[in-house]
Amino acid sequence: MITNWNLSSYIRLSHEVLRAQWKGTSTAGHWALRVHDKTKDVIIEAAYDHLFVAVGLKHYPYEPHFEGREMWEHSGIKRQIYHSIYYRSPDVFRGKNVLVVGAGPTGVDIVSRIVNIANSVRFLWIWIMRMILCIDFRQRRTFQSIQMPFQDSPVPSLRACT
């Protein structure tokens, strides 16, 4: 597509925007960008009329504050608490008793991957409005065949829980 539309001269790879500031008023002006050109290791200044923030906003992990978190983590042997951004492989969950907090797409995906590998998995299904459902996956054999975390929970009750 880049070749087809002859776009390569407009694209800067290995450039990091360090700062963006509007120079002007509520009716006219431009964005003044300070950019680190990593290919030459120089700082450049550039002016633009419009700015699209399309850097992806799934980069900095959000972790709720939990009182006593460090105490819990350091009191047990090999206890761990970490954000899903650091999830790489289900293998590290072998033999573990796992609590997955957060039932967005990520939570559901992780549970479905580790449920047959971990010793036990508990899943906090946070369905907003502070309604939380804790599902214990004891009948794990059912998951083995189908890889679907809610197979043993029929839809009507799922709905009732939310």
Binding site: V53, A54, Y60, L99, I110, M131, M148
Partner: protein
């Protein structure tokens, strides 16, 4: 039902109903991401703050890491320090299929950059934002925490239809990627809610469990999009005897 995690002690995780989990050794926080943009904050154009205070005469852009305010439809900055259309955010909405979201937002951004007269006044957009936040509050949802969830707002398909509808109403129906006025952007079959989707998946798994012959019967002659949609409709309310 378990309520929220209240705190951790040296040997257990305590929930707010005082129940405990003591056997856990690994906790994975699938709790989302911070909506922050350091290069804007560095320039003084996105204040990081612990709460989104809505003072009547301060509409400069801010974030509490969960919600960026004030943005119209999660993408257009209403900050009065620069003209409308100077700053857009792409793919902010959570629990929305990213590809459609990106296409629809790009359509809006590119058309309004090419023709700024397509933009309503800042005040009109701002009133729309406040009304949307009020609708969330009426459902018991705090916009400062969950404001960028289009699932909780209007649903992802309605979100796309609203943005494309905005362009259609201003004479852009029939342009590339934009259906004619009166025709919605989302295919009607996409407007399935989550319980429906789960029904389709789970009932299909039941079909699969009956073996290859049954699967083949189900799929016989299913080729066009309409036929696949009909198959999904049939799966939603499938009784045991119908497999």
């Amino acid at each position: 039902m378990k309520p929220v995690i209240e705190r951790f002690t040296s040997n257990s995780i305590v929930f707010s109903d005082n129940t405990l989990l003591t056997h856990i050794d690994t906790v994975v926080l699938a709790t989302g991401y911070k909506f922050i943009v350091p290069f804007l904050t560095e320039g003084g154009y996105l204040q990081e703050t612990s709460n989104i205070s809505r003072l009547p005469d301060d509409k400069t852009l801010r974030t509490n890491a969960r919600y960026i305010w004030p943005l119209w439809q999660h993408m257009l900055s209403l900050d009065p320090r620069y003209p409308l259309g100077s700053l857009y955010f792409m793919s902010m909405p959570s629990i929305a299929p990213t590809m459609y979201c990106g296409i629809v937002q790009t359509l809006f951004a590119l058309h309004t950059i090419a023709d700024p007269s397509l933009l309503q006044s800042r005040d009109t957009f701002f009133s729309h934002l406040l009304a949307q936040e009020d609708r969330l509050r009426a459902k018991g949802i705090d916009p400062d925490k969950y404001g960028h969830s289009v699932y909780l707002n209007q649903g992802s398909n309605a979100y796309y239809d609203e943005i494309v509808g905005y362009l259609q109403e201003r004479g852009l129906g029939g342009m590339p990627e934009i259906p004619p006025l009166g025709q919605s952007y989302s295919d009607s079959w996409r407007v399935f809610d989550i319980p429906h989707i789960l029904s389709v998946v789970m009932n299909w798994l039941k079909v699969e469990s009956r073996g290859e012959d049954v699967v083949r019967q189900w799929l016989e002659g299913v080729e066009t999009e309409d036929q696949w949609v009909a198959l999904m409709d049939k799966l939603v309310d499938l009784g045991e005897d119908e497999i």
